[in-house]
């Protein structure tokens, strides 16, 4: 184990190096680009024994990833924003074909207006594709989660692809100290991928990606739902196993001072670091407030959330995405699954900083609500 200072993009690339994928089809896009650059260099320097496929688009990146995974190897790809939108169709195909690809998404706003900065609309727009989505808070978590994602996705009971979501620039381009696990421990944690369900082997021919009529389609989709539900248990088990080997603990959610809190903030990704500081500041003023960080957005960890929020009165969900007429996606999901007084706040779109003032505004508006959903930090005319 060594400790180095690096960006989350480098941390992801390090995790990929340790996970030893054999095919890496990837296309550059800001702010993911440095992941594709690090991996190209690792392959050029023989630090990874992989075929780096220099595809001509993100659509082809994910398409080649499906082909390679179907042919039985571990695969990695990464993208962001418009690139993820271009992949959209094949993200659904990948999940439906049950290929355990791991993809890192550098969360970035969607055009128009064209904007390269962070929010989470890109991955939220892929919410129903059948991918597991894990949102990370820092570079260490980006590295650790990428490794864990393979183990979960490749579990024979799951076989759904995973998306590791890391906030563009805030994480992808910010350096932090990161512990890099040694190869031996990673190999122990994550053995080579041995496909059981589908591989393109002339000695054992099978067809994958078939056409299914109404007699079969529903069951194929239902099987995915069963696997997605089951993945909660597998994620938790994988986190426990990871903690045993590497000492860092993760779960589906991460509660902070929630037990006696009257109001709990709920959010995903790097924003949770700011919220944790704000919780401490508010607590110093005698406010009973807590934070629930959602790591697994899909599967949606209803039970874990309920356990964490059971004692609170109100919940303030901060979303870096928006569904017109509804509010943030996490807010909407919470309203459906969690029986509490819940308020939604839209913030941090297109890279707008979510300041302590903005968080205080959300807090005050949860205490004395005016609307179900409020855009915070909006500029006056």
């Amino acid at each position: 184990m060594v400790k180095e200072v690096m960006t989350s993009n480098k941390a992801v690339a390090e995790a990929v190096r340790l996970a030893k994928p054999q095919v890496i089809p990837v296309y550059p896009i800001t702010p993911q680009t440095t992941i594709s650059e690090y991996l190209a260099q690792y392959v050029a320097d023989e630090k990874i024994d992989a075929k780096y496929v220099k595809v001509e688009s993100e659509h082809s990146a994910i398409s080649a990833a499906v082909g390679a995974s179907g042919a039985g190897v571990r695969v990695f790809t990464a993208t962001s924003s418009q690139g993820l939108m271009l992949m959209h169709e094949i993200l659904y195909a990948a999940a439906g074909m049950r290929v355990p690809i791991v993809l890192a998404d550098a969360n970035r706003a969607i055009s128009a207006p064209l904007n390269i900065w962070n929010d989470q609309q890109d991955s939220i727009a892929q919410r129903d594709a059948g991918w597991l989505q894990i949102y990370v808070e820092n570079a260490q978590e980006a590295l650790d989660t990428t490794l864990m994602a393979y183990k979960v996705s490749e579990n024979p009971d799951i076989l759904l692809p995973s998306m590791v979501c890391l906030d563009g620039f805030i994480l992808t381009h910010t350096v932090e100290p990161v512990e890099i696990p040694d190869q031996e421990s990673v190999d122990k944690f994550l053995p080579p991928y041995v496909p059981e369900h589908a591989f393109l082997d002339p000695n054992e021919p099978m067809s994958i990606g078939n056409f299914a009529d109404p007699n079969y389609y529903t069951e194929a989709r239902h099987d995915m739902d069963v696997a997605m539900t089951k993945s909660m248990e597998v994620i938790q088990k994988t986190c426990d196993e990871f903690a045993e080997i590497f000492g860092r603990k993760y779960g589906l959610v991460e509660p902070y001072k929630t037990e006696d809190a009257d109001i709990i903030f709920v959010a995903m990704g790097s924003l949770c670091s700011t919220l944790r500081v704000m919780v401490d500041q508010l607590r110093e003023k005698g406010e009973k407030v807590g934070l629930l960080k959602i790591r697994a957005y899909r599967p949606f960890p209803t039970e874990a959330i309920n356990e964490a929020v059971k004692n609170c009165e109100k919940i303030a969900v901060i979303d870096k995405n928006f569904s017109f007429g509804i509010g943030g996606a996490l807010y909407a999901d919470m309203k459906v699954k969690i029986d509490k007084e819940i308020y939604g706040f839209i913030a941090g779109l297109g890279g707008r900083d979510i300041t302590p003032e903005a968080i205080l505004e959300a807090y005050e508006k949860t205490k004395a609500p005016e609307n179900d959903v409020t855009w915070i930090g909006l500029k006056e005319e």
């Binding site: 390679a68 995974s69 042919a71 074909m97 393109l200 067809s207 078939n210």
Partner: protein, 288 residues
């Protein structure tokens, strides 16, 4: 030519009577043999051969979507080679829509990157799976459901996109045209493509009984007429060397080809004359 006891595309699939696409695949797979992985774009071929839980494919097969078979094949090829499976043939099939229109970018990328694979475009000159809509490969004058003849229309008003030459412009080692009506020529080209190191592209004309409007027993005859009239020219470009691989003894007038198909039935003499001139020019250019 050798006809194997057992085809690698099993019978009982859902193709139309007289379907040329199944002939295209059967001949290619028999030429390539069992040690092959097949990729298909969405289209007639995929839909008629892989209705879950059945499959006609006796070799491993993967389908992902309409516009990405070049990229899927790139992934398959990369995965096989990194595993040391260098002797496995990788063949991708796409219809004309999946190749010259929506799949062009993905295919271009695959060819440019130099994957050791063969791409076969089975060209039936329109989107047949969805009911005969025009594609970039639809020939001048053909009436389709989206380029219909009408009071102000004589059908498709642009000539066919020259896809094999676009592929040749990629500088890949092997490009050929072929026809299911000339199986020996086609099979020879498939074998040559498989032996070629690097990307190979075969543009295969495949008459479609349903979309072109001719009796289902005349599929091969139609393919022959196309070649005999010079409407479809059989050639190969092997490492830059261009060669016509079949020369009709005497080129028949295009009218013989056009008049036997419903899609061209509406054409008047003026348009037929125009098509004849177009074909003459193309034949002259290629030295036929």
């Amino acid at each position: 030519m050798d006809i194997p006891d057992k085809d690698l595309l099993a019978p009982g699939h859902r193709g139309c009577a007289g379907c040329g696409a199944s002939i295209a695949v059967k001949l290619a797979l028999n030429a390539l043999g069992k040690n092959t992985v097949a990729i298909s774009a969405t289209g007639c071929l995929e839909v008629m051969t892989t209705p879950y839980p059945e499959t006609s494919w006796e070799v491993p097969f993967i389908h992902v979507a309409f516009e990405n078979s070049g990229a899927v094949a790139s992934g398959v090829e990369s995965a096989l080679r990194i595993q040391g499976k260098d002797d496995v043939n990788v063949v991708a099939f796409g219809g004309d829509g999946g190749t010259v229109d929506i799949g062009l970018q993905s295919l271009s990328g695959a060819m440019e990157r130099g994957h050791n694979m063969l791409y076969i475009c089975y060209d039936n000159e329109a989107y047949m799976n969805t009911g005969i809509q025009r594609s970039g490969a639809t020939p001048y004058g053909a009436s389709t459901t989206t380029s219909p003849k009408g009071t102000a229309s004589f059908g498709e008003d642009k000539p066919k996109k020259n896809m094999p030459m676009i592929m040749a412009a990629h500088g890949i080692p092997y490009v050929a045209t072929a026809s299911i009506a000339y199986p020996e020529d086609y099979v020879k080209k498939v074998k040559k493509a498989a032996e070629t190191k690097g990307p190979a592209y075969i543009h295969l004309q495949q008459p479609c009984t349903t979309g072109w409007g001719f009796p289902s027993e005349k599929t091969i005859e139609m393919g022959r007429l196309a070649v005999e009239t010079g409407s479809w020219i059989l050639y190969e470009i092997d490492h830059g060397n261009f060669e016509i691989t079949f020369r009709p003894e005497e080129r028949r007038p295009v009218k013989d080809y056009l008049s036997t198909q419903k899609r061209f039935k509406h054409l008047d003499e003026e348009h037929i004359e125009k098509i004849q001139k177009y074909v003459d020019a193309e034949c002259k250019e290629l030295g036929l």
